[in-house]
C-alpha cells in the first residue's frame, strides 16, 4: 500500500542522510521524499511517499523514524483530509504550429508555459500526482524531452471531517 508520511525534523547537517540511510538499511521502498523549511526556523518538514507491504512494516517505519534523534514528530496522514501537491516541469518538443494545440491541452490543468525555444516549450504544472500523471500522458505524443518532478509535499487540511456517528446530524446540518 502507498502511504504519505510527514516528519518534522531538526534542520541539522546530515539529517536527510540519516533518514534515507535508515530507510535503506531497513529496506523501506521510497517513492519520493521532499524536504524544506517549515514555519519554525531551524525545523524542516519532510514528506515521504512510501510503498509498504503490511501494517507491521508501516508501524516499524513510523517507529524507526521517530527513533531518529533529529526527528521531532512523525505522522501518517494518508487517511486524513490532506492537501498534497507536487510540481512538475515538462519540456515538450514543439514547433511553432503545435504551440496553440499544446496550450489547449494544458489549460484545463491550470498548467502554464514557462519557457519557449524554437523547437521546445516547458510546462509547469502543480497538483496531485494523478493530475500530473494525466497531463504527462497527454503530452507524451508530442515528445517529452525532459521531465522533472519534485515528489509530493503534503499536510493536513485546516479542518478535519468530524466522525459521523448519527445520521440525523448529517441531515440537520
Amino acid at each position: 500500500m502507498k502511504r504519505i508520511i510527514t516528519a518534522t525534523v531538526q534542520n541539522r547537517g546530515g539529517v536527510l542522510n540519516r533518514i534515507t540511510g535508515m530507510l535503506n538499511k531497513r529496506q523501506f521502498n521510497i517513492e519520493s521524499i521532499t524536504v524544506g523549511a517549515s514555519e519554525i526556523e531551524g525545523i524542516s518538514k519532510m514528506t515521504f511517499v512510501v510503498h509498504i507491504s503490511d501494517e507491521q512494516k508501516l508501524e516499524q517505519l513510523t517507529k524507526q523514524l521517530n527513533k531518529q534523534i533529529d526527528v521531532i514528530k512523525v505522522s501518517d496522514i494518508t487517511d486524513k483530509a490532506i492537501v498534497a501537491r507536487e510540481l512538475a516541469l515538462i519540456k515538450v518538443g514543439s514547433s511553432g504550429q503545435l504551440r496553440a494545440e499544446i496550450q489547449g491541452i494544458i489549460s484545463p490543468f491550470r498548467a502554464s508555459i514557462i519557457d519557449v525555444s524554437k523547437d521546445s516549450l516547458s510546462v509547469q504544472v502543480t497538483g496531485k500526482p494523478e493530475k500530473i500523471d494525466a497531463l504527462i500522458s497527454l503530452l507524451r505524443p508530442y515528445g517529452i524531452k525532459e521531465l522533472a518532478r519534485t515528489g509530493v509535499t503534503a499536510f493536513l487540511r485546516g479542518q478535519q471531517p468530524r466522525q459521523v456517528t448519527d445520521i440525523q446530524t448529517v441531515y440537520t446540518i
Partner: protein
C-alpha cells in the same frame, strides 16, 4: 596600567583551546578512564591531556579495535559510558567494528575521533575519512564539531544520549583546527534535543492489562533480556517472578538478570539454549518479554515462535516492540519502572503449579549434556570447573562461537553485570580486550576472559596493555585449533567440508604470553587442567592459559537455522 596588565593575565588564564575545554568537560562528566590511541589529527587533544592534571587515566591500546572493545567491557560492568579517543582516517575506521558491536548490544560509549582541519575536509586529505557518513548507521547519534564553543552542549548531549533510554554509542568528530582553536567564551550546555525524550514511565493502563493477562494465565513465562540489566532491575524481576510463580528464561545478554540457582530459572533460551527454556517458550500461554529484542538467535523460526502465547513486551525502545513478534500488550518503559509498577498493582495470583512442574520435568529430564572425550580435555568440563573454582562470582568475557555458548551454558550467573559477551554483532576478538576494560572498571573483581584460539589471535596485541598496567586478568584459551562454530556448521550442514576453518599454524600461546612478560600455562589433559586452574586462580597476576580441548566437540543442543524452538537437535546423549 598595572591593574590593566593584571586583568589581561587573568583573561588569558580563562582562554582555552578546544582540546583543553574538552578535557575539562570530560572531568565534569566524571570520566575516570579514556581508552585511546593517538595520531596526527588528535595531537592537540593528546597534548592537552599531557598538560592537564585531570583525574583520569588514559589507557593506550595497541590497536583502536582493542581500545573500543575495552571501553565496551568497561561500560558493560560499570554502567558508565566508555570513553574512546582515536585519530582521523584509519584510527576512526579501526573503531567501526567496536561501534557496531556497541550499537547492537546497546552499550553506552562516547567516542571522540580526530578529523582533518575544516579547510581540507572533502579534499581527500591525508588520513581523512568520512567519519560522519561511516558511523551514521552504527551510532545512536553522531556529531561533527564546527565551532569549539559548541563543545559544552555537544559533550553533555552525547553523554546524555549514550546512557539514557536504550543506551548506545555516540561519536563526536572533531576537526584538528577546532581542537586547536582558542575559545574565549564557551557556549552553554543547554540541550537542543527536541526529538529525544525516552519514555521511562509505563502507561498505567498497559500495566493493568498486563496484570490481568497474568492473572488469567495458566502458563505464564518471563523472557528477561539485557534491558533488565541496563535498568538495574534484577531485584524487581526476581521479586515479581517469585511473587507470582512465573518461570524465567534469559536471553544470552540477559544472563545474570535472574539468578540461575533460583528454582524458577530455566537458563538461556534460543539456538543453544536449554531444552526446558525453549519448550517453555513454545508451550506458554503468556510470554512476558522484559527488555529483550526477540533476536533471531533467540526466536528460531518466527512463524512458529511461541505459538500459544499472548505476547507482552516491555521495552524502552518502542521500535523493538512488534518488530519481529506481533505483540498483544506493548509497554514502552524502562524495565525497572515497569516491574515496579507491576509490583504495586494488585494482580490475582495465577495458579502455576502444574505449569511449573511440567517445566521442571523438562529441566530434570533434559539438562545440558556432554561426553568426556578420552584424549583431550572437554571444553564443557572446563567451563564447569571455571564456574566452580570462581564460585560463580567472576566477571566473564567471551568472543563469539563455541566457547561463548559453552560459557553461557555452564557458567551459571547469579548476579547482573558480570557477563560480557558480544551477542548481536558476534565479534571475534571481543572478549580479551573487553576483559581489560572490565578489569579497569572493576579493579577488585576477578576477571576471566574465555576466548577461542581464533578470536584471541584477532586482538592479542593487547597483552601489552595487560602487562603495562599489571592487570590480573585470567585468559582462558579454549584451544581446539579450529574455528569451532564454523567447523560445527560445516560438519552439520556442509557435509564436513572444512573450508578454511582449521587453524593449522597456531602460535605457541605459552611462549607468546611469556614474550609479553606474562605467565603462560598449557594444559592438555584433566590432570594438567586441574593444576593449571589451581595456579590460575591462586595467582594475583595475569595468566594466559592454553587449554587444548577436543576439536570435534559440538555445542548441544541446537535449533538448526530456520527451525522452530521445539525442533531442537542433540537434546539427549
Amino acid at each position: 596600567m598595572k591593574g590593566e596588565a593584571e586583568q589581561t593575565t587573568q583573561a588569558v588564564k580563562e582562554v582555552y583551546t578546544g582540546s583543553e575545554l574538552l578535557i575539562e568537560l570530560l572531568v565534569e562528566e566524571n570520566v575516570d578512564i579514556i581508552f585511546g590511541y593517538p595520531g596526527g589529527a588528535v595531537l592537540p587533544l593528546y597534548d592537552a591531556l599531557y598538560r592537564s592534571n585531570a583525574p583520569f587515566r588514559h589507557i593506550l591500546s595497541r590497536h583502536e579495535q582493542g581500545g573500543i572493545h575495552a571501553a565496551e567491557g568497561y561500560a558493560r560492568v560499570t554502567g558508565k559510558p566508555g570513553v574512546v579517543f582515536a585519530t582521523s582516517g584509519p584510527g576512526a575506521t579501526n573503531l567501526v567494528t567496536g561501534i557496531t558491536d556497541a550499537m547492537m548490544d546497546s552499550l553506552p560509549l562516547v567516542i571522540f575521533t580526530g578529523q582533518v582541519s575544516n579547510q581540507v575536509i572533502g579534499t581527500d586529505a591525508f588520513q581523512e575519512s568520512d567519519v560522519m557518513g561511516i558511523t551514521m548507521p552504527i551510532t545512536k547519534y553522531n556529531y561533527q564539531v564546527n565551532d569549539a564553543r559548541d563543545l559544552p552542549r555537544i559533550v553533555k548531549e552525547a553523554f546524555h544520549i549514550a546512557n539514557t533510554g536504550r543506551p548506545g554509542p555516540v561519536v563526536i568528530d572533531i576537526p584538528k583546527n577546532i581542537s586547536e582553536s582558542i575559545v574565549y567564551e564557551p557556549g552553554s550546555t543547554t540541550f537542543d534535543l527536541q526529538g529525544y525524550q525516552p519514555t521511562e514511565k509505563p502507561n498505567p493502563l498497559q500495566i493493568v492489562k498486563l496484570g490481568s493477562a497474568l492473572s488469567r494465565s495458566q502458563r505464564p513465562l518471563i523472557l528477561a533480556g539485557a534491558g533488565v540489566v541496563f535498568a538495574n532491575a534484577a531485584a524487581e524481576l526476581t521479586q515479581f517472578a517469585t511473587m507470582y510463580g512465573v518461570p524465567v528464561v534469559n536471553t544470552l545478554q540477559g544472563l545474570g538478570s535472574f539468578p540461575e540457582e533460583n528454582e524458577l530459572s530455566l537458563g538461556m533460551g534460543g539456538m543453544h539454549g536449554s531444552y526446558a527454556a525453549n519448550m517453555a517458550i513454545q508451550e506458554c500461554d503468556l510470554l512476558i518479554n522484559v527488555g529483550a529484542r526477540f533476536d533471531d538467535r533467540l526466536t528460531g523460526n518466527l512463524k512458529q515462535f511461541a505459538p500459544k502465547a499472548k505476547v507482552a513486551h516491555i521495552d524502552i525502545d518502542p521500535a523493538e516492540i512488534g518488530k519481529n513478534v506481533p505483540t498483544d500488550i506493548p509497554v514502552v518503559a524502562d524495565a525497572k519502572e515497569a516491574l515496579q509498577a507491576l509490583l504495586e498493582i494488585n494482580i490475582d495470583k495465577p495458579d502455576t503449579t502444574v505449569w511449573r512442574n511440567k517445566v521442571k520435568e523438562n529441566q530434570t529430564a533434559y539438562p545440558y549434556w556432554y561426553e568426556k572425550p578420552s584424549e583431550y580435555l572437554s571444553p564443557q568440563w572446563l567451563m564447569e570447573q571455571i564456574h566452580q573454582r570462581t564460585d560463580g562470582n567472576a566477571i566473564v568475557t567471551t568472543d563469539v562461537g563455541q566457547h561463548q555458548m559453552w560459557a553461557a551454558q555452564y557458567y551459571k550467573f547469579s548476579r547482573p553485570n558480570r557477563w560480557v559477551t558480544s551477542g548481536g554483532l558476534g565479534t571475534m576478538g571481543f572478549g580479551f580486550p573487553a576483559a581489560i576494560g572490565a578489569q579497569l572498571g572493576k579493579p577488585d573483581e576477578l576477571v576471566v576472559a574465555i576466548v577461542g584460539d581464533g578470536g584471541f589471535q584477532m586482538t592479542l596485541q593487547e597483552l601489552s596493555v595487560v602487562k603495562q598496567h599489571a592487570l590480573p586478568i585470567k585468559v582462558i584459551i579454549v584451544n581446539n585449533e579450529v574455528l569451532g562454530m564454523v567447523r560445527q556448521w560445516q560438519e552439520s550442514f556442509y557435509e564436513e567440508r572444512y573450508s578454511s576453518s582449521l587453524l593449522t599454524a597456531n602460535p605457541d600461546f605459552v611462549k607468546l604470553a611469556e614474550s609479553y612478560g606474562i605467565r603462560g600455562i598449557r594444559a592438555e589433559n584433566e590432570a594438567d587442567a586441574d593444576r593449571a586452574l589451581a595456579e590460575i586462580f591462586a595467582s594475583d597476576e595475569a595468566v594466559v592459559a592454553d587449554f587444548r580441548v577436543a576439536w570435534r566437540e559440538k555445542v548441544n543442543p541446537m535449533v538448526a537455522p530456520g527451525k522452530a524452538l521445539h525442533e531442537m537437535l542433540g537434546v539427549k546423549k
